[in-house]
Amino acid sequence: MTKEMICILCPNGCNLVVYFDEKNPDGFKVENALCPKGKEYAQSEILDPRRTIATSVRVEDGEIPLVSVKIDRPIPKNKIFDVMREIKKLKLKAPIRSGTILISKVAGTEANVIATKTVERVK
């Protein structure tokens, strides 16, 4: 089978042409990738598409009302909204340090939710 897709791993956004055969996973061929990651991406996109997400969470007593968070590794695409729901349940109080793990292994995935911003406490 042949499939065209855009690699989203970096802003180059290579227009990949992927040749594959479901019965023979070794016969996977990718054209137009500017770097080796393109092939990895195409394989994962066809067999097990994954994404990372970023959102924000309410913080009490903080200098700003929200702290930005992300997940530290890609999760299966169909888990995105499960993960969002778990993140929305968080109740946080300032101070929050950037890099702190807020939920580990969120929604049964391998990913951790971590703060991406430091929010200081104000009284």
Binding site: N15, A54, K77, T116
Partner: protein
């Protein structure tokens, strides 16, 4: 009057990187001025990842990217005045600073303009109809949602396919809003192809090309919009009007460099980029006034803005040391066939130049050519060219020996 060696105006990715680089290469008297309390500019509200792929070799979110620079700023003990705005800038390189501490006039030997850009608004695109609540530019909506904890709406139409709008389509969807459609008047998206995939296609949000909003309905709050298809000349096709119910309209119709200050000081502005006209040392028409980042031309990546800041740091240092000799002559760089603009706008021919440019529409399998009249100086094959993607081509000074003109074009 206090006099400093270098004053950098604006602490976004460009200004921060410039300040750090200046210290690294031994310029000690540097002052960084930022009008917001927090350093970092726009990236504080860009909570998604994709930053730093070039400069840090990993995918960081906006706030993390900024944090890396702020740590270095602290390590080098760089002088920062935040919550302070440069309110006036003069041709003699003096400026008035204003902050909660008061007002003061200072002068700099070299100035780096790094004020970033702002968004085009509804006024700038001439949208007809009433102005009910619920119309936001994409960047304002991003700030409201990511910093101020204010959800902008539930049923959203996005006008314009710029990257900020695409990012917001995904953001709104994750937060539970319904993004009904993205409308783009051009026959191609003005955002990066990767953002079309990961922000629209992933969530099943349709993108309608050659389509625009003609009317906004609603008195107190937006109740819907009318949109139409456009013909090849960009004119509405009669009878193609449709109505969609929504409570929010986001505008993602482009960014413009922020150059009120520059204009006031007499810096010449380029009609296409909206940023200063610079030569191959990134100096404007005023000696010792440099520009970097979105104030110069709108970058699609913060990494490039930072790299430009670092490049300018090198030139500013050499300027202070009196080493940036004036060129014997300036050659105007021409944006030829297929090219919307090229930077720098003027070259001496005596220095290697990395030309940055954008094409005027998408192209496939073409050559980028740099030439002096009929003499081809450089030629490179490219598979894909897209107006949303900034391109570059490097030319060495040896290759430009004896040139009389210079043109970059697509063939």
């Amino acid at each position: 009057m206090i006099e400093r060696d270098v004053v950098i105006i604006g602490a976004g990715p460009a200004g921060l990187a410039c300040a750090v680089k200046l210290k690294e290469i031994g310029v000690s008297d540097v002052l960084l001025v930022e009008r917001e309390k927090k350093l970092g500019g726009i990236l504080n509200q860009c909570i998604h990842d994709g930053f730093g792929l070039h400069n840090f070799k990993e995918s960081l979110t906006g706030p993390e990217y900024i944090e890396r620079y702020v740590e270095r700023l602290k390590k080098f003990n760089i002088d920062v005045l935040s919550d302070t705005m440069v309110v006036n800038l003069f041709q003699d390189k003096s400026m008035i600073l204003s902050g909660p501490w008061g007002r003061e006039r200072i002068r700099a030997k070299a100035i780096v303009l790094a004020m970033g850009c702002r968004e085009r608004t509804a006024g700038a695109i001439g949208l007809a109809g009433s102005r009910p609540a619920g119309i936001y530019t994409a960047g304002v909506a991003q700030r409201l949602m990511n910093i101020d904890n204010y959800m902008v709406g539930n049923e959203v139409v996005i006008l314009g396919s710029g990257d900020v709008g695409l990012i917001m389509a995904r953001r709104l969807t994750l937060e539970g809003a319904r993004v009904l459609m993205v409308l783009e008047k051009l026959p191609y998206s003005s955002g990066l192809p990767r953002n079309i995939v990961q922000c629209l296609e992933d969530y099943g949000i349709p993108l309608y090309l050659k389509t625009t909003v003609t009317k906004v309905y609603g008195k107190a709050r937006v109740e819907g919009v009318e949109y139409v298809s456009l013909d090849d000349d960009g004119k509405p096709i009669p009878g193609s009007e449709r109505f969609v119910k929504c409570d929010t309209l986001l505008l993602s119709v482009g960014l413009i460099p922020e150059n009120e200050l520059s204009r006031e000081a007499g810096v010449e502005i380029h009609p296409i980029t909206g940023g200063p006209i610079v030569n191959d040392t990134y100096q404007t028409n005023i000696d010792g006034v440099f520009a970097a980042g979105n104030v110069l031309h709108v970058h699609d990546l913060a990494d490039w803005a930072s790299m430009e800041g670092e490049l300018v740091a090198e030139f500013a240092k050499r300027y202070l040391e009196g080493e940036l000799s004036k060129a014997k002559r300036w050659i105007d760089v021409k944006a030829g066939k297929g090219i919307r603009y090229v930077l720098p706008h003027k070259i001496s021919g005596e220095r290697d130049v990395n030309f940055l440019f954008r094409v005027d529409s998408p192209y496939k399998n073409r050559y980028i050519i740099v030439r002096d009249k009929d003499r081809v100086i450089k030629k490179r094959r490219v598979i894909n060219l897209h107006p949303a993607v900034m391109e570059n081509i490097n030319v060495k000074s040896e290759e430009m020996k004896g040139i009389e003109s210079l043109e970059v074009m697509v063939e």
